[in-house]
Each structure stands twice: as structure tokens, then as C-alpha cells.
């Protein structure tokens, strides 16, 4: 069953505006500080050097599953009628660690740590498109699941 309702983010929240604008136009756009560090999750100052945000950079919409869970009982009413669903943490292929949380839009059976995933944007309304993850088609399934 397709998830129809979501707790909605505030797309006007100051540190997140560019990110949500990017999602709405199908782009993954992340903040970069004066010294060139990705600042993820978005903060007013870089966690590493405390410099401000200098720009927003568009990055590749793919990565590998770093960890995952299957939620069987959600505390969120929007998910209360959902069947068990998976949430993943995906590590983007960058020198610096950038990991994103997202709903898994694929079979739970296909999930394993290291599995290749790519982003899809779930259009919820005119302003909000949620970045979710699905398995990359060319995935090599491991013989033994982790």
C-alpha cells in the first residue's frame, strides 16, 4: 500500500529553504561552508569549523545504505495505518561523511547494508517533495544477507 500521508516539513524554515526548494525541483542541494565542508544536516554554522554557509551545491542522487530499520509500530498518526515500512540511512559517495535519512521505497527483502540506492522525490503537494530512496536497478544482491 502506498503511503499517502506524511508529517510535513516546514519548507520555509530558515536553514532548510534551499534544500526544500531543490527537492521541489528534483535536485539534491546541500549547504557548503566557507571552507568547503558539506554542512549536513543543515546548520547555521559548520560543525567542523564554525564558518557560515557560503553556497549550496547540487550533488549526485545516489549512495549506499549505511543502516536500516523496519518500523512496525509508528508513533506518528500519519503512519499508524501503514504496514511495516523501512527507513534507511544512506551514505552519499563523498570524501566527507554525508548521510541522509529517508523512507525506503522498495521491497524490505531487498535491503542490506551496502546496497546501492538512488533518490526519488515523492511529490506531496505544490511545495513539498520528499526525498526517498529506492534500490538501484543494477544492484548485486549478496549471497548472504547482513
Amino acid at each position: 500500500m502506498k503511503q499517502l500521508k506524511y508529517p510535513l516539513p516546514d519548507v520555509d524554515a530558515p536553514d532548510f529553504v534551499e534544500f526544500w526548494n531543490g527537492c521541489a525541483s528534483g535536485k539534491l542541494v546541500l549547504p557548503v561552508c566557507v571552507q568547503g565542508h558539506f554542512v549536513w544536516p543543515p546548520r547555521p554554522k559548520c560543525l567542523k569549523c564554525q564558518e557560515g554557509i557560503a553556497s549550496w551545491a547540487e550533488v549526485e542522487q545516489s549512495g549506499r545504505v549505511y543502516s536500516w530499520t523496519v518500523v512496525h509500530r509508528s508513533s506518528l498518526f500519519e503512519f499508524s495505518d501503514s504496514k511495516p515500512f523501512a527507513v534507511v540511512i544512506v551514505e552519499l559517495p563523498m570524501v566527507q561523511i554525508v548521510r541522509m535519512v529517508g523512507l525506503w521505497q522498495g521491497e524490505i527483502e531487498d535491503l542490506f547494508i551496502g546496497c546501492e540506492a538512488h533518490l526519488i522525490f515523492e511529490r506531496v503537494n505544490d511545495e513539498v517533495a520528499l526525498p526517498q530512496w529506492r534500490p538501484t536497478k543494477l544492484n548485486d544482491r549478496p549471497t548472504k544477507r547482513e
Binding site: 503511503q3 506524511y6 508529517p7 510535513l8 516539513p9 516546514d10 524554515a13 536553514d15 532548510f16 534544500f19 549536513w40 544536516p41 560543525l47 549505511y66 543502516s67 536500516w68 530499520t69 523496519v70 518500523v71 512496525h72 509500530r73 509508528s74 508513533s75 506518528l76 500519519e78 503512519f79 501503514s82 511495516p84 515500512f85 527507513v87 540511512i89 561523511i97 554525508v98 548521510r99 541522509m100 535519512v101 529517508g102 523512507l103 547494508i113 520528499l130 526517498q132 547482513e146
Partner: protein, 394 residues
């Protein structure tokens, strides 16, 4: 000069050893039917009576749980209107962090006799789903997590657990051993909510999934009740008749990226990885000197995780350590001899401090350890805040 100066301040503070002279609690239940103020007053009086002092001796208060205030205790116990008070950051590290605040109060001379009390109806009202909305970093939860259905501690920490299982081969059998050991201990503790209810591997294995790999019995209880300890200066303790339990050291630290657990350079490093070595150094003891540990057991894996990061075993060895029977009374490092949050009740870990005190005083009755001179207590909060105290029988 400024960073150097603040470092010096941090290292000179808390030279004073503080001493626990009283401990008490209410019944731990699923539905108290009483207000948190009423529960707090009862637990406080039990701790004050246990210490053999008068309520008027209390000159410092640290209320815990999120909804309890110093005003409730002034009104209910007839405390001085001049009591000083402080509140640690919310979350599961707060009970042990309160010992650190008490050290600061004593060291600065602002208080000599400090009441730490936690009270809440966390089972019948205000369960975890609402409590987590008062934790730091809500902008990340609202923007990047809840829209994806990721919203509770079980769901957050199951991610850490899964990664540990993949990297180190930690198994569900090993997680189960944490739950089963806690449940065995609870059978020796009439106060435990799970007293009289044994747990088998089969029951554990067949219990419903909450957030895979966590099943029902990987998760702690929700509890109505209150717990309290009375902490005093060394000098104050000299004038009381009770067997004193010294806090040799207490340290608090946060993990890197303290409000977001997903983006850490070292996935497994937490606040405790910093706090525990600092506390051992300050106390002048090592992990092998510790006779038992009260580990903040919000979930089974967090016990294994903290045993590793506190230095009781190497990283990746915690699962095998648990499976070896080390955590049981009589084992290499008895853990949560009261049953812990998993089987005694969830009093924010203040019940762990109380169990440490009772063991060191020799008051743990049917679960008394034969050798209890040094006991470690941990707190785990939010996305890995850590607090670590070393308690000693004088």
C-alpha cells in the same frame, strides 16, 4: 587565552567528593493514579528519612523528569524558600548528570545537602513519543526524520544496533542475553515491575517486532513512579549516622554531532567514550577494578554499546561478553542487579544510582553481591549523551 582558561576551570571544579546518604522511591507501576507531585514527595521523604536527617536540612534541589519543579518540593516538603536548584539537560543522562551538578553546588559552596528526585507518570501519561519532542535538535526531527517515519528512540537506536551487528557479528542471541539477565535479576527484586514474570529465549524470540532488529523485550518498560537520592558534602556526611557511599568521580560528555546520530565520523563513538575514561582517571581506578555496573538499558543493544565504549570490553566484544554470562550476579561484571529499565522500571536511571548505593551498603537482600566496593553507573540520553559515575563504599 580564553580556551585555556575555561579548560583550567573545568579541571579544578568538582574536586570535592560528594556522598550519597539517602535513597528512596515509591512503588513502580503501570498506573499510579497519583500526581507526579504526590509521588515526588513520597520518594523524597523516603530518601530523607533513609538518610536520618530532617527535610529542613535540604538546601539544594535537582528536580528531574521534565514536569517536576522545585516549587512542588518546597510546598510538599516544607523546604526552605532559599534552596538553590538546577536542572540538567533532559534525556536519559540526566540522573547521573545530576550528580555532576550536585558536585558543582557543593564545590562552589552554594549547597551542602542536595535532593535529586525524578517523578513521572510515563506509563499512564506522557509516554516516550511525546517526551522525545522536548529533546534538542527538533529542527532535524521535523525537517528530515519524521516526514520519513523515523520518530522514536527504538527506531533511532535500532540503526546503530544493525550496523554493529553487520560490522562485528553481534547477534540477536547476544541482545537477548541482556534482556534475560535483567529479567533474572528482577526475580530477586520484589520492587521490580517484572518480579514474578520470568522470560525465556522463546518468549523473547517470538515477541512482536517494534523496530527491527528490536523486538518487544529489547525495549525498556514505561513506568509511573518516583525515585530520590540525598547527596551531601563530605563534611555533612561525617555528621550523619548512615553508611556513606562516595561519588568518587562523575563525568558528562556529548557525542560528536550531539543532536544528530546519523553523521558521525565514528559511528559508534558516544558521549560515554569520552566521559568514562575521564571518570576513571579522576577516580584513579580502571574498568577491571569495578565490581558491578548499572548500565542505562533503554534497549538491549545500548547495554552492549556502553559496555564497550566505557571500556569494560573492547569494541565489538560486547555481544560475546554478554553471551558469556558476564552480566549475571556471580558473573565477571554483574550488570543491573535490580533488573534495570528493562525489568525493574524506567525511572530515568535514577533507580540505577539507587541500586548502586544499596549494593555498596549491603542492603540488596536476595540479590546482594558478595563483593561490592566499587560500582559504575552510566546514563545515556538522546542521541548518545553520556554520563558516568563511580560509586564507592567508604
Amino acid at each position: 587565552l580564553v580556551p585555556k582558561f575555561s579548560k583550567l576551570v573545568r579541571e579544578s571544579i568538582n574536586d570535592e567528593v560528594i556522598t550519597v546518604i539517602g535513597a528512596g522511591e515509591t512503588e513502580y507501576s503501570r498506573r499510579s493514579g497519583r500526581s507526579i507531585q504526590d509521588l515526588a514527595i513520597d520518594a523524597s521523604l523516603a530518601a530523607i528519612t533513609d538518610a536520618e536527617v530532617a527535610p529542613q536540612c535540604v538546601d539544594g534541589v535537582i528536580p528531574l523528569g521534565g514536569e517536576l519543579f522545585t516549587e512542588d518540593l518546597i510546598a510538599g516538603l516544607g523546604l526552605s524558600r532559599r534552596v538553590v536548584d538546577a536542572t540538567p539537560a533532559p534525556g536519559g543522562a540526566s540522573a547521573v548528570a545530576a550528580l555532576s551538578l550536585a558536585c558543582g553546588m557543593v564545590d562552589s559552596g552554594s549547597a551542602n545537602c542536595i535532593l535529586i528526585v525524578l517523578s513521572r507518570n510515563a506509563s499512564s501519561r506522557g509516554r516516550i513519543g511525546s517526551r522525545v519532542r522536548k529533546l534538542p535538535g527538533q529542527q532535524f526531527r521535523d525537517q528530515l526524520e519524521r516526514p520519513h517515519g523515523w520518530s522514536t528512540p527504538a527506531e533511532w537506536y535500532s540503526m546503530i544496533c544493525r550496523r554493529h551487528m553487520a560490522e562485528y557479528g553481534t547477534t540477536k542471541r547476544q541482545l537477548a542475553e541482556v534482556a534475560l539477565s535483567a529479567r533474572r535479576h528482577a526475580q530477586l527484586n520484589p520492587r521490580a515491575m517484572q518480579y514474578g514474570r520470568t522470560l525465556s529465549w522463546e518468549q523473547y524470540d517470538q515477541s512482536p517486532f517494534i523496530a527491527d532488529p528490536y523486538q518487544l523485550y529489547d525495549c525498556c518498560l514505561e513506568t509511573d513512579g518516583a525515585a530520590a537520592v540525598l547527596v551531601v558534602s563530605h563534611e555533612f556526611a561525617r555528621n550523619t549516622g548512615r553508611l556513606p557511599v562516595d561519588v568518587l568521580s562523575v563525568e558528562v560528555a556529548r557525542p560528536e554531532s550531539a543532536d544528530d546520530l546519523t553523521n558521525r565520523e565514528d559511528w559508534h563513538e558516544i558521549g560515554l567514550s569520552v566521559a568514562a575514561p575521564a571518570a576513571f582517571e579522576r577516580a584513579g581506578v580502571t574498568p577491571t577494578d569495578v565490581d558491578a555496573a548499572m548500565i542505562y538499558d533503554c534497549f538491549t543493544f545500548e547495554v552492549i554499546h556502553q559496555l564497550e565504549e566505557a571500556g569494560f570490553c573492547g569494541r565489538g566484544e560486547g555481544g560475546a561478553f554478554a553471551e558469556s554470562g558476564a552480566l549475571d550476579i556471580g558473573g565477571r561484571l554483574p550488570v543491573n542487579t535490580h533488573g534495570g529499565l528493562l525489568s525493574e522500571g524506567h525511572l530515568g536511571g535514577l533507580n540505577h544510582v539507587i541500586e548502586g548505593v544499596r549494593q555498596l551498603r549491603g542492603e540488596a537482600a536476595g540479590r546482594q553481591l558478595s563483593n561490592a566496593n566499587l560500582i559504575a553507573v552510566t546514563g545515556w540520553g538522546d542521541w548518545g549523551d553520556g554520563a558516568f559515575a563511580i560509586l564507592a563504599r567508604r
